[in-house]
Each structure stands twice: as C-alpha cells, then as structure tokens.
Symmetry: C2
Subunit: 119 residues, 2 copies
C-alpha cells in the first residue's frame, strides 16, 4: 500500500475531526432526513464552518446526499447518508467491536455498552 492508495485516501477524509460523529448523527436519523441546524445542535461544540466543510467533503466522496428545498425562504437543506455512507457505518461498527474487545477505557461515554453511539 502506498500513500495515495485507495484505503489511505479513504482514511484521509474519514478521519478528520468530527467526520465520524457527523456520519453517525446522520445514521441515527436514517428514517428522517436531517437539517443543517439539527446536525449542528446534535454535535455540541462543532462550528458552522467545520460542519459545513465536513458535509461538503462527505458529499464530494459520495457518502452523503444534500437536497435543497427549492425556492423557499429561509433556505431548507436536507442531508442523508447514501448507500455507501450506510455501508461505511458497518466498518465503524467493526472498529467499535475491536475497541470494546481490546480497550477497557471508555471514559467519555460512561458505559461500555455505549448505547448513545447507536453502535
């Protein structure tokens, strides 16, 4: 595997700060689509700038769909995971399983089961 290889490129955008959280937030809402402000509120501490950047990256990579409600004010936009986005959640779940098997510390979540994670 070389630096520019597929896996590496994937990891590159997938592992920026907040990206995983954004994906999981969208995953939680897979029945109903999610709005920008809704996402922002669900991710305490994230700034508009970063959320916007992460969503754009994910959209560019085909993991996220963005739909803007036409001709209404204020603007409404909706985000959903694409098929590939949904599939990558399975990989994140794999990481979670690995982490629970090999790591005992799970401080911030407060519990090993980590129910809040939907994982």
């Amino acid at each position: 595997m070389q630096e520019g290889c597929t896996v590496n490129l994937t990891v590159k955008y997938l592992t920026k700060k907040w990206t995983l959280l954004v994906i999981l937030e969208l995953y939680k809402g897979k029945i109903h689509t999610r709005r920008f402000g809704e996402l922002k509120d669900s991710l305490p501490g994230i700034t508009s700038k970063v959320l916007s950047a992460r969503l754009k990256e994910l959209e560019d990579e085909g993991l996220v769909n963005r739909r803007v409600e036409a001709g209404c004010f204020p603007i409404k936009s909706e985000y959903t995971l694409t098929e590939s986005g949904l599939e990558i959640v399975e990989i994140i779940k794999g990481m979670k399983r690995w982490a629970l098997k090999w790591k005992i510390d799970n401080i911030a979540c407060g519990n090993q089961a980590c129910e809040q994670c939907v994982l």
Copy 2:
C-alpha cells in the same frame, strides 16, 4: 458517540499519517519480525522521527511489541504486531473492500487488485 468515546479515541491514533502503512508493513512481515531500519526502508518518505513516534504510539496502544536485543552494539530492535494489532488488520481490509466497491480511483497503486497492499 461523543468526542472522547472509545471508537473516536481509536480512530484518533489509528488515522495519523503513516500509521496504517506501518501496521501493514508489520503485517507483511508477520512471519519474521521487523527491524526499525527495515521498516524505514519499506516506507519511502517517512522520517526517523515520525516512524519512531508512530511505533511508540502503537506500542502504547498495545498493537505492537518492541523487543530490544540485550547488550549488543549497534543496538538491534525488533517490532511485531500483537494479537490486537493483527485483528485490526481485518478492519483495514474491510475498509479496503469498501473502497474498492465504491471508489473507482486507485491511482497510486496502479491496479484495482492492489496486490502490493497485502489486502
């Protein structure tokens, strides 16, 4: 999932530059252990500083074993993947499968099969 959660912490060190490459380099050599200089040569472009830092992180996280040959000069050190290190390769393989399914670009590798990757 919150910022300090297990998965997030895992991702955090796993996704630093070079980390994946280092793990896979060790994976390749799973029959014979690997020396520092050997790893450095196998990863063109990496500096001693970064390789050293990555190996230490992985050792701290329990993915890598470091063994120093006692009382010889020049020093000889050997690195191997631990059990958890070997298991995480399976997750990397999952990412690879995902990437090959959803991404068509595989420029640096030159081929979709990506044999050099051992994945």
